[in-house]
Amino acid sequence: MKKVFASLLLFGTGSAATAQQPAATVLAIPPLSSPDSGDKGNQMLAIGWNVTQAIEADLRQTAEVLPLKPNRDDYYPYPEVTGPNFTKWRQARAKSLVTGFVQGRSDGRVTVGCYVYDVDKGRELARKGFIIGANDWRRAAHKCSGLAYTAITGAPGIFDTRIAYVAETGVGEARTRRIAVMDSDGQDHRYLTSGDSMVLTPRLAPKGDSLAYVSFAGGGRPSVRVLNLDSGQERPLVPGDAISFAPRFSPDGSRILFSMMLGANSDIYVVPATGGAPRRLTTSPGIDTDPSFSPDGSKIVFESDRGGSQQLYVMNADGTGQRRITFAGGWYAGPSWSPDGQWIAFTRRGQDGRRIGIVGADGGGEKALTSGPGDEGPTWAASSREILFQRSLGTGRTTLYRVALDGSDPRELATPQGGSDPDWSGVAE
């Protein structure tokens, strides 16, 4: 797919950030059409306009696709859904086009059809239809955005995904923290804890039905708890009163990795997600923590200071074959393996603060993605092309930022209050 440089996005931050030119595909998204007529047609067009605007908002969040603002004057009749006016969109300098329709069904639900075109070649790239409840149009929009994003970039879409994070209000001693979850576009925002106890590091299960996090509720000792999002029931991850933290689900959701203190020693353990006896995977006398599975579940990346400073190590899922992969100097922490398996994101500590970077899963090709100085906690988008992280500002406020691998500037992700410890889910089925 041919791309144009979007001069709007061209303002690099540092040497690493400008190493690669950011590029974005300009996409046209005129208002969705409808085969229905009369009052019903008007209702369908109203839904279509909502879907159109939601698709634009979804794609505007990405670094790779630059949607043109939808214009109601660009309405087209239903037959043009599958026979668009390519000349018009070439003149508008669009490289891609999304068309579609909304059609009422006899059962009260609606069909949303979605088509993606290469404007230069005048060729269809993808199409898909969804049957939804009339009030569930946002979901259809996310699916359509994902279709367009995948057709243009070749990567999975990130629109029908959830983000869990710690919502922070106040600063210093007066700070309260609650676990919150929302759709990746900020909709359906919910708080899951009350703010009575300090909470850290929420991690969603792959299916999104449960969430592991660290709570200080148990007598002020931090420990991992698992919350069932459907029933609201909660349980400790492991019995006993040991300090435990840094939970992460396996890609298939069957196991949870975490760290546990035994005396002054922090090691990595794995336990079935449904409960059971934890198995110890590391035994070094140093601090081993922040484990993260490879997407096929066969390997684990983690941080350890066994060699004198925090570095990243990779081991097999059973704890064998532990080897260091970072040697470039500085301290490396909080690794997270990308969903496509190629990269490991990390927080790198140096004299000039903390910044987010990536390194190949084999330890080569390290790149800095942010300039810090208060960045931390990277989590991957399902597309493996973007990373969400937390940035501490000089004011004592911490907020969520997202950055693409293409070297473009990080952008803030809006949340109702300050936010930290983000966790970005995969695409919902």
């Binding site: 002054a264 909080g334 906690g377």
Partner: protein
């Protein structure tokens, strides 16, 4: 010897009885000892005053106890041995510039080092518990506070 001991006992008993029977009278001689303070705040104040502080500090990314920390903990251990009814919680802190989970582990490790040292100096293990705040409470980086609970 035996007579003397018996005499001393009688005198002590006598003194006790006399004092009990004469409330409100102005006592002669040295002022009596303060009664045992029992509120948490009072215990905390006494603990802090007699052990030279409730906070000990560490080097960057280190859980090694230096000489000043050991001196403070030595005084704390002596006080705790005299007050077996008092339980304390050892709260470890990480460095604010560290990453979240590593800071949590460093704080826990510092707290555990302090606990081990107090136990080494004869404080029963049941008297001391530990936790870590990592870098989640600002202002106290690279430290451990010992709190009377």
């Amino acid at each position: 010897m035996r007579v003397k001991a018996a005499l001393l006992l009688t005198l002590l008993l006598g003194a006790t009885i006399a004092e009990a029977q004469l409330p409100g009278l102005r006592r002669r001689g040295p002022a009596p000892q303060q009664p045992v303070l029992s509120t948490i705040d009072a215990q905390r104040a006494e603990f802090a005053a007699q052990s030279g502080g409730t906070t000990v500090y560490f080097g960057s990314d280190s859980a090694i106890l230096g000489a000043p920390a050991k001196a403070t903990l030595g005084a704390q251990a002596a006080w705790l041995r005299r007050h077996p009814e008092v339980v304390v919680r050892i709260e470890g802190y990480g460095d604010g510039l560290d990453t979240r989970d590593h800071a949590l582990a460093v704080g826990a490790r510092r707290a555990e080092e302090v606990r081990s040292y107090l136990v080494l100096l004869g404080v029963p293990g049941a008297q001391v518990s530990t936790t870590s705040w990592g870098k989640e409470r600002p202002g106290l980086g690279r430290a451990v506070t010992i709190l009377v609970r």
